[in-house]
Symmetry: C2
Subunit: 460 residues, 2 copies
Amino acid sequence: MRFHLDSLFNPRSVAVVGASDDPAKLGFHVMKSLVEGGYRGLTWPVNPGRREVMGRPACSSVAQTPHPPDLAILVVPAARVVDQVRMCAQRGVRSIVIISAGFKELDDASGADLQDDVARLATEARIPVVGPNTFGLVNLHAKLNASFTPQFSQLEPGHVTLLSQSGGMSHLLAFLGMGAGVGFSKVVGLGNRCNVEFAHLLEYLVEDPTTRVIAMYVEGLDAPRALLEETRRLRGRKPMVIYKVGKGDVADLASRSHTGSLAGRHELYQGAFRQAGLLTADSAEALLDASVALARCPLPAGRRVAILSGQAGPAVAACDVCEAEGLAVIPFQSTTQEAIDQLLPPLAMRTNPVDMGPAWHDSVAMRAIVQVAMEAPDTDAILLLIMFASANEGVLRALSDLLTPRTPSKPIVACLSAPPGVWERELKDLVRDGALVNYPTPERAARALAFLWSAAGCGR
Amino acid sequence: MRFHLDSLFNPRSVAVVGASDDPAKLGFHVMKSLVEGGYRGLTWPVNPGRREVMGRPACSSVAQTPHPPDLAILVVPAARVVDQVRMCAQRGVRSIVIISAGFKELDDASGADLQDDVARLATEARIPVVGPNTFGLVNLHAKLNASFTPQFSQLEPGHVTLLSQSGGMSHLLAFLGMGAGVGFSKVVGLGNRCNVEFAHLLEYLVEDPTTRVIAMYVEGLDAPRALLEETRRLRGRKPMVIYKVGKGDVADLASRSHTGSLAGRHELYQGAFRQAGLLTADSAEALLDASVALARCPLPAGRRVAILSGQAGPAVAACDVCEAEGLAVIPFQSTTQEAIDQLLPPLAMRTNPVDMGPAWHDSVAMRAIVQVAMEAPDTDAILLLIMFASANEGVLRALSDLLTPRTPSKPIVACLSAPPGVWERELKDLVRDGALVNYPTPERAARALAFLWSAAGCGR
């Protein structure tokens, strides 16, 4: 079954079934998200017991909205959801998000039966349903916050789209992203996956102009083959990164989707993911780190990394990661090396990695070294690692002058670290202007660069 | 050779040899660190060409200071260091930090010769020397910032002491720590290790009342046996965590201390470290994460972890890490389980891990579940994972009421995550009051807990 998913993400009108003015109800928080998020389409609260909700006239049912809504968000008790879905189908609603819980995630069979009814009704009417048992979804580019968490609207619009089986993980990744200035296009909580699966969303997202990278958090898959086939089919269209949890026995049981599945299955999954062209992350942080680099950097043409570091230690730590991840930190060709030698005093680490430390007081030399690496034919990517010290305060200004504006041809992945409040504006500008991506540690920067190399299709 | 190291960390007077008013000189930044850091002892700038530096009367040489300084910080060209050390010895200086570079880290032999001269002179005079080629050292509890980076004084005084072979890594860890509110006792850049080695500092630090955990960043070790013997001897006195880089061939060469050493040596080191009772971290972030938990949490009596989560996804991710790290996420005994069952509706995950999600709107129930786990005889540690959502905003207040003040008997390691600005004060209070430690992700929280278990001496 193929759905028209655009009404989920770019609806002209939204009905909130179960809208409420009572903060103890999720229907309150969903209304708040829509209203405070600045959604520019029509919003129709639906609640038979109210004349208005949050100052907007309420409809007594979805049948009473001025027009058939493009999107209906259901936040009513599970027992009433089937009726509401039927009403939505009759009314010509084009898409549904079911936030209500109490379906397949329950221990007893009644929940699964209820969910089957919902799926059958919706699929017959060709209505895509996100959920049930989800926090909702967000499209930052449409200012659509169709979730129970108004704070999702604080995300910066950008080019990472997150598909997640867990609302909690979506919240975590969003909050981490807010702190790090990550730009998101869409965040989708798939919940129990009634009739919209990962595969459907991937097909839509590879065509979505505001999505450059697709990040996925997965617990259990009822139909892993469908996802793998779809990713194989879409391979090369856009980078896709997956973080699959449920490695161990307890974790696997806890994810509840593969009760009784074998230990070791995790490794099978990882292999199958890689074969299908999916990049695999091993933590929430790695999923986000990879997505940021993939959304913002050009892919390297090869695996040769120049490590340019303001201090030796961070370079060694990054070098470890590069080597473990299959990147090449190899000696420069003579012309590159000669150019660098002329910029640094005759101290130890002038070869790759380059310790620019001896030039700490000399922003001009640091700038020139970075320029050499940017132009060097024997360098495919740059890892730039500079820890603030009182004496090197000016280096970011010198680098800004070199790096912006430019059309980046090689990725520059950085760990430029400073005390809170220092270098913040310069860093923000460098990142905003696309000059580089920045990570909190050299190791995470190196790992993000390795994802770029993997995505270039030449790695691993 | 045993040294009296206390004059390095708690000097009554400090001479800065090479003090300057010129921001292009490191001697300026060192003076700034001392003065702005609020050091309460006597500070004597030494510079024969100046009558005063930063408004303080300058001495023409270390021989002219009013009294023999407890600590002399040398920031003069390498060629002048030997003479200065000789003068310090004659003057009765009790300890020295040599910030100047240009010694053993140089490619040619002249640097090593110079360093040998320094070491011989200082050791004959029984003067401990930190450096050369170091950023310096900091003792937050004495407000002593004997480094070239004034911003180290922004660190919160606390109980983590960091010993680092890299100034860059010290800066990185300090900046990460500032962002996360980590409290430090001391930060020491060992530099080229002229006569003060890791082993000397460990012996001092196990007696240091403000040091609860010792974190080490190591590149190459000239005398690994000395360190291993010392840690074995001090085993059990205080937790020690080590992050050793230089795994790969290039990284190993780059660290320059083991030119030509064999690949695979890294694994030998890891094994030797563990046998000597050192905990091993595999990244800068892990080193800091482990140190924070070890400095602030009681050690668990066993390996049974209760995972209490506001959302299922983060619990599954944490569960993966727990299982991989040898922690036990096992079903509760009947009394514990019965108590939890009464607090949650009959949904899926009421066993370990416990998904408190269905009680999202019910802070009282969440509080009660945490209390059950705190008192449960079948639980040695608690992983508490709650992602903010608009509707659960009140949960931290309810938990504060339960968790503070208390004498913690079991570690509570948390990932309580929220948008910037939300929950910040509540979290700060909970951490300050010792109720829990908090990490940015469930995986990092779980890994930190695993370090507590390893430190308890029963693990791995």
